[in-house]
């Protein structure tokens, strides 16, 4: 009777041990699975972002391709006609001059004015902040106090004045932009946006205008002595 009872106890204990082992193994495997799953999910999200990026970039490329195709068909039509050819060439030059910022341009846009009373509190970052927001709203021409902004233009605070294109710019600081005026005003006034952050220190305002005029960059300010054109063999 006693022997029977102890053998039963032993077998129950054995079953319990096996159960315990199985249980812990099971838990571990599940936890592992969960970790792998979140990792996979993360990777998936990353991929989705990348795909969307590529999609957007491809759209931009397609627009460029279309532009080139229409241009080329124009050239195709002008083939053999030297007058027409010269005209296309000078049109292209005129266009590139505007791209390079060498022409005086006007159009609809906005004028952002930093109050003169707060001039000493205006930092270069504030001006950069506004410029960047206007660029993001597709501004096509920009100037700070009539210094045209080009690809190499810096904005550097120096106390009582700010340097733009290596030239002193004196307060009041005024940024002019040729840009969709409604878009620009909305973007600047966005809650938590540019104006809200700048207005803590400096009074700044924006006016829409139908006739913003932006002067050209001085050609002597374009420096290219460190650059060499890469010749493509293609």
């Amino acid at each position: 009777m006693k022997a029977k009872r102890s053998s039963r106890n032993i077998s129950i204990a054995l079953v319990c041990v096996i159960l315990g082992l199985a249980l812990s193994w099971q838990f571990q495997s599940i936890r592992n699975n969960a970790k792998v799953m979140t990792l996979e999910n993360q990777k998936k999200d990353d991929l989705v972002v990348k795909i969307l990026n590529e999609q957007k970039n491809n759209e931009n490329l397609r627009a460029k391709l279309n532009e080139l195709q229409t241009q080329l068909s124009k050239f195709e039509n002008a083939r053999g006609n030297s007058d027409e050819n010269l005209k296309l060439l000078s049109d292209e030059i005129q266009k590139l001059k505007t791209v390079a910022g060498l022409t005086n341009v006007k159009g609809r846009g906005v004028v952002v004015t930093f109050s003169k009373d707060d001039a000493l509190s205006v930092e270069d970052d504030d001006l950069l902040f506004v410029l960047n927001e206007l660029r993001a709203t597709d501004a096509q021409a920009l100037a700070i106090n009539d210094q045209r902004i080009i690809d190499t233009s810096e904005v550097r605070g120096a106390g009582g004045y700010i340097n733009v294109n290596g030239r002193h710019v004196l307060p009041p600081y005024v940024i002019k932009a040729i840009v969709d005026p409604d878009d620009a005003v909305n973007a600047l006034n966005m809650v938590g946006g540019v104006f809200e952050q700048i207005k803590v220190f400096v009074d700044v305002s924006v006016q829409k205008s139908d006739n913003v005029e932006i002067p050209p960059i001085g050609e002597e300010l374009i420096k290219t002595d460190k650059l060499k054109i890469v010749e493509n063999d293609k």
Partner: protein, 243 residues
């Protein structure tokens, strides 16, 4: 008494068994879900590949068309006046960022901090204002051509936060960012190395490297040119006089 004892022990064992079975089933179900996810992942990956290939195709087509256009423009009769026009065209393309350029300068890489503290994650990622702060420092130090992730910066190039990415020339890029600048390598290097922006980045353990390099190649601006000037009206004839 003995019978009751047995009963309790068996009950507990069966209860544990029951639990094991449920857990097993749940785990199996989640495993199946996971394999579905992997399938999804592979599908997304192949989608990404096709997109990238598509983009490369577009780029190749654009290069070809641009070459054709160049030929057309250059094909006009070789009179002196048209030759000088062609030279002017080349020069304008050069200063407008429409040619690939090479020269000495610096290469900067920016990346988010490793293992950020999740509670204050915003402190550990690269922000748009840090990127354009560095760009401004480079310009101040006389950089003559700048690109971020091979996206050439022109006068109207934005560098603006768009969710987890930064938009540059309307294209989106995620970290890491590689900024290339051509100019005086020593000036550029010291301007960036000692800048407030970079010391701020280092303070939060964001990953920054600055290196001087020779013969950096910076590609041309790739977007649609007409989109840059569609709203601009040339205001006077001052610049036309030269022609």
């Amino acid at each position: 008494m003995k019978v009751k004892d047995n009963f309790i022990i068996l009950f507990i064992i069966f209860a544990i068994f029951g639990m094991l079975v449920t857990v097993q089933i749940r785990s199996t179900v989640s495993m199946q879900k996971q394999s579905a996810l992997t399938l999804d992942y592979n599908r997304l990956k192949s989608q990404l590949d096709t997109r990238v290939k598509e983009g490369e195709q577009y780029k190749a087509q654009i290069a070809e068309l641009e070459h054709k256009k160049e030929d057309f423009l250059k094909a006009s009769p070789g009179t002196n006046s048209s030759n000088s026009l062609k030279n002017e065209l080349d020069y304008l393309k050069f200063i407008s960022g429409l040619t690939d350029v090479t020269g000495d300068g610096v290469v900067i890489t920016l990346n988010d901090a490793e293992n950020p503290d999740p509670a204050s994650q915003m402190n550990y990622i690269i922000h748009d204002y840090e990127v354009y702060g560095i760009i401004n420092d480079l310009r101040d130090a006389g950089a003559q051509a700048i690109a971020i992730n091979d996206e050439r910066l022109i006068a109207t190039s934005e560098q603006i936060c768009a969710g987890p990415t930064i938009k540059i020339n309307k294209n989106r890029y995620a970290v890491p960012f590689e900024i290339k600048a051509i100019g005086d390598p020593d000036k550029l290097y010291s301007a960036i190395k000692d800048s407030d922006v970079v010391s701020g980045l280092i303070q939060y353990k964001k990953r920054v490297t600055v290196e001087q390099k020779n013969s950096i190649v910076i590609p041309k601006f790739m977007n649609d040119i007409n989109g840059l000037i569609s709203k601009l009206e040339v205001a006077d004839n001052e610049s036309k006089k030269e022609q």
